[in-house]
Symmetry: C2
Subunit: 200 residues, 2 copies
């Protein structure tokens, strides 16, 4: 819950030295975007926070917009990974917990605000949409698979995603206490039972 995006990305993605440097730069960018906004950060700060030389940032991302976009996409991807262990309930609960953890970080909160403000540029809007699309596609794919396997009646994956994620968003962004795994289980259970009972 308190782990920063830098730590998350580095932990999750093994690879060579170049890959690790890239991951650190992207994570640092995400943190600075969350703190200062899309237009507010400087390449020097990214380099310092990532612990790399400034030229590493410039060489990999000569274009600032591309850097921001890749950083946010990476963050969104990490946040919305949905495993297929074969056990639907567990996969959904894990997904919801990971999403809540990501959303509770300053970056996640900033992204949620950008997504809703409607005041940002078209470019930013497209990036945020792409991040949200990751989440939607992840849920849809998992739900489609469950439908195929007869674990769920035919259901619109997008609608299912709203049913599952909506209560968690409200809780994380406004609730009086932190979101727990138990909360994720309660929501998942009601949604699964409701979709099965109504057959949609």
């Amino acid at each position: 819950m308190t782990k920063g995006p830098a730590e998350r990305s580095v932990v999750r993605r093994p690879g060579g030295r170049a890959a690790r440097v890239r991951a650190r730069i992207l994570a640092a960018t995400t943190e600075l975007v969350a703190r200062d906004g899309i237009a507010g950060f400087r390449y020097e700060e990214v380099a310092e926070l990532a612990g790399v030389h400034k030229t590493s940032v410039y060489r990999n991302w000569p274009d600032r917009a591309t850097l921001v976009k890749e950083a946010l996409l990476r963050f969104g991807e990490d946040m919305a990974s949905l495993a297929e262990t074969g056990e639907l309930r567990r996969d959904l609960v894990d997904f919801l917990v990971a999403l809540a953890d990501g959303l509770a970080t300053p970056t996640g909160r900033a992204l949620a605000l950008v997504a809703q403000s409607g005041h940002e540029s078209a470019e930013v809007r497209r990036t945020v949409d792409a991040i949200l699309a990751h989440r939607v596609v992840a849920v849809q794919r998992r739900v489609d698979r469950a439908v195929e396997q007869g674990e769920l009646p035919p259901v619109d994956g997008y609608f299912f995603g709203e049913l599952l994620c909506g209560p968690m968003y409200l809780h994380v962004l406004r609730g009086p206490r932190p979101f727990t795994r138990e909360d994720a289980e309660r929501i998942t259970d009601v949604v699964l039972a409701g979709v099965r009972a109504t057959g949609r």
Copy 2:
């Protein structure tokens, strides 16, 4: 969906001339807060938008913070009214549709952002919390009544409110198309069926 808060309040609350003037002033204040933020509007603008003399505003609300607070509370109250017609499903669907309509207005959207930004003053924060509390209490009261009457198994009204409102919030704030009554019905049906099936 496109009706402004001014119109909503005036339509919904009958009363004498003084009450109508107050309602118009509060509705105008809400609109200006949505446009310019809590600290951005001037009393002159409120008077102009409400079509009243400036002294009517000063006389009724010498204190600016009180004016903002009452305006937002009134807006929140109108937005989150939950009738008891005796038919649970219909009451919940009506509530969800009204909340979605309110949230889709510029004021509703602005309030949602303030509620989540966490950057505002403690005073603003308390006001927004009070508005959200209206909604929560409305759902809790209706759900408690349904439990008493055996229409629902014992369920935590706060949790129920998150299940019901969360998907609608996501849809209104981020969805690709407007929220419809059919959406409200689908959500309500799944939540009712899920709560009944899981017995919580």
